[in-house]
């Protein structure tokens, strides 16, 4: 059984600013990171590999420089790393993205080994749609189990999986037959740290690149042309600017008193 982890290279959003004139993300000089939720999907795939011995492939759609993200996955221990990269994939929304990713998973399924599980982060921190994982599941006809915070049981012979879903204020235990697509939350696990010999090996390893000549998808279903969603505007919301009232360093007692009195006067301290 093959497990596929879908990972995405995203800009480090804590360092992203929005250009006030053009209303677009200022991406120059911003470092890229692996989408944090995806690191948990990858970690879970590797843990299942450790337990059941199944192979793990990491796939990512993105520009050629997204190769670095896949090298990180190789350093952590995935068996194959595949970058889906082609100019015609560019400008994709969640629908077109899931078309490409599911085509790649399908290809692995037919040419390599039967895919039993696809693991995705619950969403990316740049787009925040949480649609790509479910999109892959529906395109592949896999069961979809979203917001997973624990794999309760995986029965590889009986081909069933039971997971816990983290919902607001409650947990839900659900069971589904394989193959299944899981989107995962941070509570699922603590991602491992790469060992240096693996990092060195990963820097010499091959990241396979699949373009559309490999996937042979209809250009109307991918990239900008295959994307019904258009972003018309992006902007920073107006935020009321706060006011500094006291100086906690010079006069901590006074500042604390001022804070309490201010909260009391605004009726913000329940007494």
């Amino acid at each position: 059984m093959l497990i596929v982890a879908c990972i995405k290279q995203v800009p480090d959003t804590t360092q992203v600013q929005i250009d006030p004139v053009t209303n677009t993300l200022v991406r120059e000089g911003i470092p890229f990171i692996v989408n944090p939720y995806d690191t948990h999907a990858l970690e879970e795939a590797l843990r299942l590999k450790d337990r059941f011995g199944c192979a793990v492939a990491a796939i990512s759609m993105g520009p050629p420089n997204a190769e670095g993200t896949l090298r990180k996955a190789l350093a952590l221990g995935v068996d194959r790393a595949i970058l889906l990269s082609d100019r015609v994939f560019g400008g994709a929304d969640t629908l077109a993205t899931s078309n490409v990713l599911s085509a790649a998973i399908n290809k692995l399924h037919h040419e390599c080994d039967e895919v039993g599980l696809v693991l995705c982060g619950k969403q990316t921190i740049d787009g925040d749609t949480a649609q790509v994982g479910p999109g892959i599941a529906s395109r592949l006809g896999f069961q979809q189990l979203t917001l997973v915070d624990r794999i309760v049981e995986l029965d590889t012979t009986g081909r069933r999986i039971r997971v816990s879903r983290k919902l607001e204020g409650r947990h839900e235990i659900v069971e589904a037959p394989l193959p299944a697509m899981l989107t995962v939350v941070r509570e699922l696990n603590r991602p491992r740290y790469p060992r240096v010999p693996m990092r060195l090996a990963a820097s010499d390893a091959t990241v396979e690149v699949w373009n559309n000549q490999v996937l042979k998808l209809d250009e109307q279903s991918i990239g900008l042309k295959g994307s019904p969603t258009w972003v018309s505007k992006i902007f920073s919301p107006e935020r009321a600017k706060g006011e500094i009232l006291g100086d906690g360093y010079a006069d901590p007692d006074g500042a604390a008193r001022l804070l309490i009195n201010t909260l009391l006067s605004k009726d913000m301290l329940p007494l």
Binding site: R192, R195, P197
Partner: protein, 654 residues
């Protein structure tokens, strides 16, 4: 009246062979090691060996050091008597008494006095071990056995000579043997023959037993300590060796033969005197780390695994394990603050800290196994080049209210390397502001790197994450070169030592100056005028940062600065300067919890409060945090902790 020379000859040859075999068996293990060059500057090394091995400079620095000094020199002087004894035992005609009286008399006088001194020292050493040993485990049978052997040697020496006097030999030199001569008066002439034989064989057995036992005990240091001083690291051991990151290598030390030959020689040179553990902040506050035990465990592990390692097999006893004899526990590996107190205390220059960091390297680099608090730290360092993972764009927030220039080659003389704490830590930002204002006031030309500044990598290096440190160091070195940085001011001793000492391994020689030193110079040269005396600080107490003091010998600048600003010299804590006690944050401990024993910072804060401190003066952002936290813990609300720049600012800016 003559011992059986044939019997003695056989015993002597057998003992010699046993001794040589034991020495070879142990010392040949050192060849299992990885290589390391310690053969440079031979002349300087000889000087160090004379100073520390023969003149025993460090041994003498502590009480009872004189005791060891006497025993050491007695051994050397009594070699004359012992060699004579052995030769006489084999060839009866050989005797010192054949020397002319003019030579013999002073020689016998010296030997008699030295033997008496040695006997007294051995008795004192035995009493010390009984009454108040350096540490409880030092009260071993082995120690008493060795002391008794030495004692027997001395008594037997007197016995032999006394009997000979009674027997009518050596009459002309009788008066020159104050002890043996007096003893002779107590021996009846009739029993002189049997006293002689008993004393002679006692001397023979003690000598041969000592010889046989030596290579199998901690007293092996008699042979290894002198070369160990010769092969000592000539520069301060304030940095660690680089690792080369190519595929197929292994990193750090996970099994004992990965240590260098000098590390292994260290383990045979340790006499387990316990001076390291008496100054180790981890040991003192009840952590499982004991630097003496680490060195001992390396030796035991080497002996235990020797045959397997020689055969190229996996060791049976793991080096990193449960902390039983021969294994070092992970908790003790992570407990080290890299303060360097152990290395400062060791009379024979054993380097405990690099050995511990090598174990950390193995855990981090080979096994990716470390305390979980460190995962965030490592990722933040790699991702955002600061310990907290704060966006680099925030690096200049501390000076948002000031007019600070960017560093530019040609137009700014100094780079002020603010450091992560000075840039992001809310308390340390005040230090950065005070320092910046003082530099401006003094008319110094300085600039900053702003959001391009990256962490120096100190914590990751001391925590054994050499792979990440190597990347950070390369990036910084390239940036410094590109920007033409040559003179750097740091306000953090960790940045200071890393830029100054660690980056030198990357071919970058910077003129790095710690702010305490620069400010002291500016005050002394009259470039910073004091408006008033900073009198509001009350009693000031000074704390030495390990990476400023012990690791870089900078002790006076902070003191002189405080004295200039306040008009009085700061009070000293009981442990100060080279003996100063760590705040607990070095070696990456800043980012870790203390799970056992008392907190190191609390121990140090209490020590400062004993001096009736109103203001504790530090020169390091980590110390600032640790003292600040400690003062809150003991609820000493009216005691402040200030950086020396803030102390000076009180006198110059307010």
């Amino acid at each position: 009246m003559s011992p059986n020379h044939t019997v003695f000859t056989v015993l002597l040859v057998a003992s010699f062979l046993f001794f040589a075999w034991g020495c070879w068996r142990r010392l040949s293990l050192i060849t299992l090691r990885t290589p390391e060059d310690r053969f440079d500057s031979i002349g300087h090394r000889v000087g160090e060996m004379l100073k520390f091995a023969f003149a025993q400079k460090r041994v003498l620095a502590k009480p009872f050091g004189i005791n060891h000094f006497i025993i050491f020199w007695s051994f050397i002087i009594l070699l004359i008597a012992n060699i004579e004894f052995m030769l006489h035992g084999v060839c009866p005609w050989f005797s010192l008494t054949k020397l002319p009286d003019g030579l013999l008399r002073p020689l016998l006088l010296v030997l008699d006095i030295v033997s008496l001194l040695a006997l007294a020292s051995v008795v004192i050493a035995a009493i010390r071990r009984l009454v108040s040993p350096p540490y409880p485990e030092a009260r071993t049978i082995e120690a008493f056995f060795i002391l008794s052997l030495i004692g027997i040697l001395m008594l037997a020496y007197f016995g032999i000579n006394a009997a000979r006097v009674v027997n009518g030999e050596m009459v002309s030199v009788f008066a020159w043997m104050p002890v043996s001569g007096r003893l002779a008066l107590l021996i009846p002439a009739t029993s002189a023959g049997s006293v002689y034989l008993i004393a002679w064989w006692a001397h023979a057995f003690a000598l041969l037993a000592f010889m046989c036992y030596l290579p199998y005990s901690k007293h092996m240091h008699i042979l290894t300590a002198i070369p160990n001083c010769f092969f000592r690291r000539l520069e301060k051991p304030n940095t660690q060796a680089r690792e080369e990151f190519v595929s197929g290598k292994s990193f750090g030390v996970g099994q004992v033969d990965r240590y260098s030959w000098k590390d292994l020689l260290d383990s045979f040179s340790c006499t387990e005197c316990g001076r390291c553990q008496q100054v180790c902040p981890a040991s003192i506050t009840g952590k499982p780390l004991n630097p003496r035990a680490v060195v001992h465990d390396i030796k035991v592990n080497l002996l235990e695994n020797a045959s397997r390692l020689a055969a190229g097999e996996k060791p049976a006893l793991p080096l990193i394990g449960d902390g039983g004899e021969g294994s070092v526990s992970e908790e003790s590996i992570w407990a080290c603050t890299t303060c360097g107190a152990c290395m400062e205390a060791c009379p024979v220059f054993i380097e405990q800290m690099p050995k511990i960091i090598n174990l950390r390297r193995h855990l981090v680099e080979e096994e990716a196994h470390f305390p979980e608090e460190l995962l965030n730290l490592f990722e933040n360092m790699e991702g955002r080049s600061n310990p907290w993972g704060i966006a680099p764009s925030e690096r200049t927030k501390w000076c948002s209210q000031m007019d600070v220039k960017p560093f530019e080659q040609g137009s700014t003389e100094y780079l002020l390397y603010v450091g992560c704490a000075g840039s992001f830590d809310s308390r340390s930002k005040h230090v950065s502001v005070a320092l910046a204002q003082l530099l401006d006031k003094a008319g110094i030309s300085w600039g900053i790197l702003g959001k391009d500044e990256k962490c120096c990598g100190d914590s990751v290096r001391r925590l054994g994450n050499e792979f990440v440190f190597d990347r950070m160091a390369r990036e910084n070195v390239a940036m410094f070169r590109e920007k033409g940085v040559t003179k750097v001011i740091t306000q953090c001793p960790h940045c200071f030592t890393t830029l100054k000492n660690d980056y030198r391994q990357y071919g970058l020689e910077l003129e790095v100056i710690h702010h305490s030193e620069l400010l002291r110079n500016l005050v002394q040269d009259g470039n910073l005028k004091l408006n008033k005396t900073a009198s509001g600080l009350g009693t000031t107490v000074v704390h030495d940062s390990c990476y400023l003091g012990r690791h870089n010998d900078l002790y006076d600048a902070p003191r002189e600065l405080i004295e200039a600003a306040t008009g009085t010299a700061p009070a000293e804590m009981e442990r100060n300067r080279a003996n100063a006690f760590c705040c607990g944050a070095g070696g990456g401990r800043m980012w870790m919890e203390e799970h056992s024993g008392e907190r190191i910072n609390l121990t140090r804060v209490k020590e400062a409060l004993e001096e009736k401190a109103d203001t504790i003066c530090v020169a390091c952002p980590y110390c600032l945090t640790m003292f600040g936290d400690g003062l809150k813990d003991v609820k000493a609300d009216n005691v402040r902790v200030l950086d020396v720049a803030e102390v000076l600012a009180e006198a110059v800016l307010r």
